[in-house]
Every structure is written in structure tokens, then in C-alpha cells.
Subunit: 95 residues, 2 copies
Amino acid sequence: MEIKEFQELIHQIYLTRDLQRGADRTFLWFLEEVGELTRAYRRKEDNLGSEMADVIAWLASMANLLGIDLEAELLKKYPRVCPLCSSLPCTCPFR
Amino acid sequence: MEIKEFQELIHQIYLTRDLQRGADRTFLWFLEEVGELTRAYRRKEDNLGSEMADVIAWLASMANLLGIDLEAELLKKYPRVCPLCSSLPCTCPFR
């Protein structure tokens, strides 16, 4: 599935509710999902993939509310090389 | 670009470094990026799309380290309907 297609799916399922909730409260929900993922990772639970999906879905809701095209932003920031050293694989000093 | 293709791109650019850093410290970096996105949103900065891209990229690094297929998880969790009410658009009680 294309990134753009997933963002459009979240638009179709949730935009009306996201608009009703507003950006601030939708962002809080995104952060709640980040918290759930953190807890699942810390506890070594087996639902990490599902929690990662929720984080991306709520990020897509935020992007829809703010008129941001996630696929375009990803391709702009990561144009098939590291954005800092412009190499593939990355050759930046290790951090 | 397919979600799977983006995860594979992050694998090619960063897997060696992600393995060297390890999952715990990579997760901390993901959380740092969530913090940067939160600050940019709170301050109404114009780099929100770029910060969202970083959050997704670090999530892809974590997924690579943990052997999680993000595209498969997204399709499993959001099978073109809301996972709770199974409707499109979502008809759950408003939250």
C-alpha cells in the first residue's frame, strides 16, 4: 500500500471526527498512542506492531488536519539517501 | 511510494548503525523526534512535515530492529474500515 493511500484511508475513516475533535486534542491522542507503544516496548509485549500502526494512524490524522502530505514529506526528507551525508548507507559520524 | 519500500529504504540507509546503537537507544531517539514534533506543533513552526517524516523514519528503524513489517501491521489494524466499528467512515461513539 502506498503511503499516500494509507493517509487517504485514514482521511475517509476519521476526518469528520478529527475535525470535530480539533488538532490540539488529536495531537494529544497521538501522544497517548506513543505512550502506549513505549509501555508495550518497555514491557516486551507482543503487540508492538499494532501499537506502531496506531502511532502512524494518529500521525496521519494530524497530517490530514494540517494539510500535510506525508509521502511527499518522506520523499523530500529521505531522497533515497541519508539527508545529512547524502550517502547510502549513511556514513555520518556514529551517534 | 509503498510503505514497505520506505521501511526498506530506511533499512538500507541505517540498519548497520541502528544495530550498533541498539533498540533501547534507537527508541529513545524516536521519542526525541516525537518531542521535536511536539515543540514544532506547539510553536506553530513551518517544519511540521519534516518533523513528521523524522518520527516515521525512526519508527521504521525500530520496526527494522524488531522484525516488524509496518505495512502488514497497518493493513491488519486498519483493513479499510475503523477497527472498532468496522465502518467507513467510523461510526463509533465520539471521543
